[in-house]
Amino acid sequence: MRAPVYALVGNPNCGKSTLFNALTGLKQKVGNYPGVTVEKHEGTAYSQHGQAMKVIDLPGAYSLASRSPDEAVMRDVLLGRREDTPQPDRIVCIVDASNLERHLYQVLQILDLGRPVILVLNMMDLAENSGVKIRVNYLERMLGIPVIPCEADKGRGIIELKLAMSRHDLPLSKHRWDIPAAIAPAVAELQASLGDNDGKAPLIARAEALLLLTDHDHVRVAGSTPLHAKTEEILKTWKARWSAENVDWAAILVKARFAEVGRICTEVVERRETRARVGRPFVDRLDEVLTHPVWGWLIFISIMGLLFLGIFTLAEYPMNWIDSGMGMLADWVRGAMPPGDLRDLITDGALSGLRGIVIFLPQILILFFSIGLLESTGYMARAAVMMDRIMGKVGLSGRSFIPLLSSYACAIPGIMATRTIEDRRDRLTTILVAPLMSCSARLPVYLLMIAALVPGTSVPALTKTGIMLLMYSIGTFGALGYAWLFRRTLLKGKPSMMMMEMPAYQLPSLRTIVRQMLDRASAFLFQAGTVILSLSILLWALAAYPKSPAGSSPQVQLEHSYAGDMGRLLEPTIKPLGFNWQIGVGLVSSFAAREVFVSTMGVIFDVQGDTKANTVPLRDALRQATWPDGHRLFTPLVCFNLMLYYVFAMQCLSTVAVVYRETKSWFWPTFQILYMTGTAWVVCFVVYQVGRLAGF
């Protein structure tokens, strides 16, 4: 017998992922629904008797009416509209017990689907603490399905749920609600057509008919089977007829459902008034402080400060270990293989490409861990509320805050985090400006330029931090400025609304955070890794061919390679910025990953040894570099300009690839390259020309 397929559905923030983890443990698979950027979580749970049950964790949604791709996927899987995912045999519906009124609407929609449903009342402890008592037995009788109280984060109720899931005789809900007589013919006609033309089972067809009539079904994503033309026709006719009669049946149906929800709740929910206590509840006061115009900002800035300190200081140690580990690996390959192109391809192409990816893993892990921690305690939602004001000024909403924050470590996870933004224009704008936030790959470039900029053997910490902060703020203001511009021109539209549920304050669950961190990190490794790796190999070839006579130094080799030619080809365009062909080679070679600029400078100025760990020899070499006419190449103005160039220019092909994957179009990534690199050129041109006139 085939293992039964369960779908896990529920609102966002109802503890669905925690329950999914509790049910399936480590037996999970994370993939993608083909054609849409929505993660597919599948796992296997085992009953008390070892019987396997397949569980699909569907994206969280507030109802079956879908607005974002996430919600569309959830609806399509339940309605059996996706060929890549089997229609679930049974449904586990999770609701937040402290909040039954709001969640029941979706539960009723799901009961209509005509599949056996198990209702899980999660967070029973929270409900009881807030004075809500639910008569579970009564609810079970009213709906006619198993109702299981549960505290998924503490593992309570999981065994009962598994027992219910392994029952062979899971009942269909007895709950029926009356469809107003006037629209019954429309439901019947649509249901018949869905059965005959779209091949749907009778109950599913009825549910889908109701859904088509009441809810807005215009978000369609790739992989979703379209309606049969006849069904579409019937739907159109009825909608036209209603609008001619000037009766909004859809609203009447929705209101009828809400009335039903109200009726159930008055019977099963008992609410003790806990608000009568002296003073305001602690949570209210905490919310007030955290979103306070003064205290809120102080707390916000301190937390963000700590987060950045963590990213840049804690990560330094593992980054050094990875660096020396990869160095040792390359040395070992050099020792074990005879010299030749293959050896160089492995050490200078593949291994250095791999290093360019793995080196950022510590920072990214720390970032994801911190974000996970802040999310699970409930603070992140409050931070988004604080930022909503600022984001609102440039036409975005608080939802864009987390993606932009992640982009300080790396734009790729930032862009992937935009999936939760409902508004298409908001999401595109966020994707377009995210790479302007100074990511950690720009750091090595900034550090080298600061070293070359400031005379003396060591750079005072204050100067270093000052210049660094300047670069970060230029990037941030650039991102906000462009967001403002795009929302008024290219992606013009009404300013977006923000509605965000504030999760309850909770002690974080380490297991969930670590699991989420690993999921996100592996997505990063896979998405960015493949691009960086293949590009590094290509760039290696550009620098290694055509071959110079045997015995020539690496400097001579690079000068006469294709990369050198490209640098010289580029020189006329970058000369007005104060850059020569050697810097041009650096710009070309760092197109895959910005930090490659530093090692290229090391090769081109013929500096032996590890340029990354010790910038002193390279710095001195840069100071001695001159134009053919003898004047200094790396004047303070040029160093500063080069930093500015890296703030704005789109020097990261992995980001381009991810933007393509997320937007499903070449227009946006192409536009992004043009506007970012264009801005870099204009800004550097103006700064260099004005700076020269001013005598720098």
């Binding site: 809400f258 919310d287 007030e288 115009p293 909503d388 923000m498 509605m499 549920e501 504030m502």
Partner: protein
Amino acid sequence: MSSESQNQADRVPLSQLLSGEKGRVYDLKGEATVCARLREMGFCESAVVEKVGGTFTVLCQVCGTRIALNSRAAEHILVEKLES
């Protein structure tokens, strides 16, 4: 003042409630999709909303949940002020 006009005066957009004040949702205005979304979030007709705080972005309590709405969303919700 007649009781009718008294009622009118007590009907305000949610954004105009003061912190700590309660109101009962009596109508949602705007596009159907917006209204449906608001209902799903708990702002269905006759629900009681309490404003917790915030100015531009409003924090409020509805159906036992805390929800943040920015002013552009809050203006779609019309409430009748309740005596606290």
